[in-house]
Structures are given as C-alpha cells and as structure tokens.
Subunit: 350 residues, 2 copies
Amino acid sequence: MSLAKKIRVAVNGYGVIGKRVADAVVRQDDMELAGVADISVDWRPRVAMQRGFRLFGATKAHAETMRNAGLDITGSLDDLLGASDLVVDCTPKRIAAVNVDIYRQRGIKFIVQGGEKHEVTGHSFVAEASYASALNRVSTRVVSCNTTSIVRTLTVLKHAGLLHRARGTLLRRATDPWESHLGGIMNTLVPEPEIPSHQGPDAQSVDPELDVITMAVKVPETLAHLHYWSVQLTRPAAREEVLDAFSASSRIALIRVDAGLTALNTVKELMADLGRPNDNLYEVALWSDMLKVEGDELFYAYMVDNQAIVIPETIDAIRALTGTVSAEESIAKTDATLGIGLLTETLGNR
Amino acid sequence: MSLAKKIRVAVNGYGVIGKRVADAVVRQDDMELAGVADISVDWRPRVAMQRGFRLFGATKAHAETMRNAGLDITGSLDDLLGASDLVVDCTPKRIAAVNVDIYRQRGIKFIVQGGEKHEVTGHSFVAEASYASALNRVSTRVVSCNTTSIVRTLTVLKHAGLLHRARGTLLRRATDPWESHLGGIMNTLVPEPEIPSHQGPDAQSVDPELDVITMAVKVPETLAHLHYWSVQLTRPAAREEVLDAFSASSRIALIRVDAGLTALNTVKELMADLGRPNDNLYEVALWSDMLKVEGDELFYAYMVDNQAIVIPETIDAIRALTGTVSAEESIAKTDATLGIGLLTETLGNR
C-alpha cells in the first residue's frame, strides 16, 4: 500500500463531524488529507491549523476574511477540490445540497452525511451492509448516526437468519455537547410528532428488506442517543446465539452493566480513559447482560454516540468510492487505525 | 348518599401521595377525612393544619415531638385508626410493610400503594379492571403509576377485542419535583438493568391475561413518565376504531401535538391553568395525533403523572373495600369531583 498512490481527501466543513473525519483520515496510510475547508474564524479552524492541516475558505471571499483574521489560508474550496480525489461534505444540511452541484460540475467524487436525502446520491452507505454496491460509484451518503446503528445491528441479525421484524424506541440527545450553551431542552421530554419516526424508512434506504419501525423522543441530555428494541425473530433462539450474531460485527461492542457501565456517562468516561480522540464511541455499545430472549422475541438496549459512529463508515465509504479494497479489508484497516475492537479486548463482552 | 353514613378515611403518611389522597377525600360527599398521620415537623404538616385536617403522630413519641414543634396534634396513629373505617397507607416502602401488621391487628380495612408487593394484600387494584373483585375485601393495593397506566390502556383495548400483546418502553422521571434538590441524575440516561422491567409482571397482578412486556430507562427530568407502546392487535383495525376504544375510558385523555401539547411541560402547564390542585394530571394523557395503526400493529405514546394518576384509583378503592357502590358509580363520582373529563371538554380529542 505504501507504494500505491494515496487517496487525496478533502473535508468540507470542519464541525462536529468534519473534524473527526479529518482526524480519522490522517490515521489511514492509504489516504492523505488534502485539506479542510470552512467559513469560521473562531477557535475551531485554529485547532485545524495547529494540527498542521491545510486550511481553505469555502469561497474566495471567505478565504480573504479568514486570512484577515490571522488564519493561514492556502486558498478556496475550488483550489482544495483541484488537489483532491474525493471530498467528504460535512457542512450543515442546506449548504451541502448546494455543494453537491459544485462537486458534480468539477467531476469529483463526493460523500454527503445523513442529513441529506437518499436521492442526493442515489446510494446510502453502511459498511457492513452496502459497501459492495458503493464500489467505484461517484458518490454515496453515509446515513445518520441512528440509522447507522439500526442497520449495523439488524444486518447481523439478518445474516444470522434471525430477523423477522424490529420495532424500536429512540431516545435522542437534546443537542451536541459543544453547542449546548446555545440552547436545548431542559427538564422535559419532547416526543417526535410523527409515528413512525423517519429512521425506520431511512434504514430501508440502505437495505429495503429490513422490516423496521421506529418511534423517537428528544431527551434533556447531550451525551448520546439510547435505543430500545423489541425484535420478532424468525424462530425461538438461545440468548447465546443472539450474542454470537452481534459479536460477528466489530462495530457492535458488547458492554455490561455489571462492569460498571450503568449509564451513558460511564461509557463516555471509558472512551476518554481509552485515550480516544474526543472520547469517540465508534461502536454501537450494546448491553449484553440486559439483552433478553423470550421465545421468538428479542429485547435489547444500546447507546449511539451521534458524533462518532459515522466516522468509521465515512472512512470505509472513501475506500468504496475509490474502489481500492474489499469491504472486509477496509473495515479491518479502519478498525485497526481507530482502535475499534480494543473495547471488547479491555472488558470482555459476555 | 347525604343521609347515609360517610366512610371515615384515615391517611397515614402525608407525602407526595398522602397529601393528594387527603385533598381528594375531602372532595367526596360520601367520605370524611378522619385525619392524617405523619412524623414530619417541617412545612408539610403545617399545610395540613392550615387546611383544617386533624393531625396525628405516627406514634405517641412522634405526637409528642410534633406537639413540641408547635403543631396542633390530636393524638397518635392508634387514636386515628380508632376513629376511622379505613386507612390509606401512603408511607414509604419499608414503613408500610410494618404498618400492615398494625392494621390487621386492629381489624381495620386498609389500602397500600404500588411500592408494596401484591402478596401484602392479595389483591391489586385498578378501577376499570379490578373494582368488582375488590368489593368488601379487607384490603387492596393500588398499583404504581406506570402499572396503573398500563392496565388502563390495555384494558380498553382488551375490552374492544383488539389486544393480542403489548411491548412498551418506559422513560421514567429521575425524581419527584419537590425533592429534586436532594439529587437526581443529570445529563445522562440510566437503563434499568433488568429486561423485562417489573411493570409488565406487575400489570399481570391486576389482570393475569395481559400479554405485556416492558423495558425502562431513567431520564433526567422530573415532570412525568413517558411511555412508548408497540401493540400487536388481534386483527387489522382502523385508526378511528382504536381511538374509539381509548375514548371509552374517562381516565385516558386524548391530547394533541397540534393543540400545542408538544412536550411534558406544556401538558403540566395546562393542568395548572385548569386550576387542578398541584397541577395534577389524573388521566393517562395519550397523543391522538401521534397514534398510528399499520395493519395489525398499533403504536402510541402517552404521559403519566406519577404523583397524581393513582389518586382517583385510591378514591375508588376506598368505595370498593367498603362495598358502597358499583364501579361505574364510583368512577363517575370520582371523575366529577376531581374534574376528570374537563380536559377532553376543553380541548376536543381527535
């Protein structure tokens, strides 16, 4: 690999997702971070500069403003795209939709995030479910955090021949930690008015065969989402058989209440103690000792770090679009570089 | 009824439930509040005094201490029981278990709350499901707030011939508002380690025929519990048929997101504006415009005011044990005196 040409990756938007994608890209020996583009002049791009990333303004005007604010700016997004093989769009919803036209005009491969509709790229990505169909495409959409977790967990149950249908209740964190000073809900619960919520259909954009229905509610905390699932199996199964199925995915970490992981905050603290950047939990953290099988019904709960879970998928999506390696090779490489798997090594899992 | 002898009711424990039971008892023209017993010398019994309730110490020693603190104390629990036909025990868990022996020795009818086990009384009470079997018994247990809501909602589906089985996820408020200064969880979610959680089996203590499984999680807010349900019906049904079934119970209030009732806090504010004591929500508040039927599956969410929902049940349980009237008569009377039904009148419901 070291002799092969590295994939030059541009990251457009250096926010919650963009900064994590950039960090992950520089850990890959088959990728090179061409640079990051943004519009901000506050502390955020200064961190990118300090990390040695090449900084670009989203437009020539932004580049100028950022330069005037004392930032070391290499050029504009246009220049960045010219020096890249692929761009990962991590800008807010409405901005990304406009950017896609720019990427198409330039003929550069691109990845958008789960805030965009499936139709924007015509392909929705979760590594363990749709890597093969993304191979050498022009673009794909890495689905949202909740949808990623749903596809990961239901795909392994499907592959084990166990999945009939799944019904989930999603507790959604109120806002991201870094912007919680800008406002969020306090001391209340806010149901999403639509039942079913959109995550079920979104999971079907990755795998139309999944029979999945979700309900969602916003809760007053910022750490992560929490899912409760009630799954109808194809047949009665043993608890161990289900745990085996979940263990088949490196991106599902089995955790235990009786190891002291009793709540969202303790899991986040463990990520910090493992030395992960931004305390990232890349895995679906599923409580193995809570998991229950009753006849042909399965019940379980898991935690989703909405800021981190899509990062390994994004890295795999880059490899899929550029057609360099197989799904298995990419997933193994991404896992190794991000420390995925260490969690199970550290804790055991059953 | 005005010529008949009134039921003399003692309330033992003047806390979150006891004070609401006392308030509700004085609104009944067939009941008389014989008095309330407690051990506290802080602001709480002073409110009882100010409301003109006769105050008793839990023991002679407590009576003395309370007298010394300047409270107007009529006597001890023993005296109160001597002047009562029935006692509603609203003391904390471990205390109630001890009190039951006292009640039995005195041969006085008694009601315990949902914190006690079914075996303590051998009968578990929800007015619309088990009033008849409580008639003229010595004792019953008014089940917990969550269990009450489960039995109310599933009973009407059962009576409509629609209920096959129900699977629910319960978001439990962290602590009661009045004692939130004593501590509660903040900015995290704490799953109950056991799946299934205890509320499903507890509902079966009222109606063993219910096929119900629950999962539960503690959330960082104090206002109320929130339930999400996924119900397998006996057959495909129309949405209106399900709403008709829920409407058959006066103790299920259909509310609407599009009437601005978008979250727990707005519903509580409505209770305050309706002039209800302590902003009590006695009903299961079920969002009619969120409710969804897909084939033979039903999905809905509702709010449970854990401090208030058992109050009408307790009033009905008093009438059941004393054998004065039928379930229908008691429920109608309780509803009228507590303003149950006004919610639907105020808002419409579909």
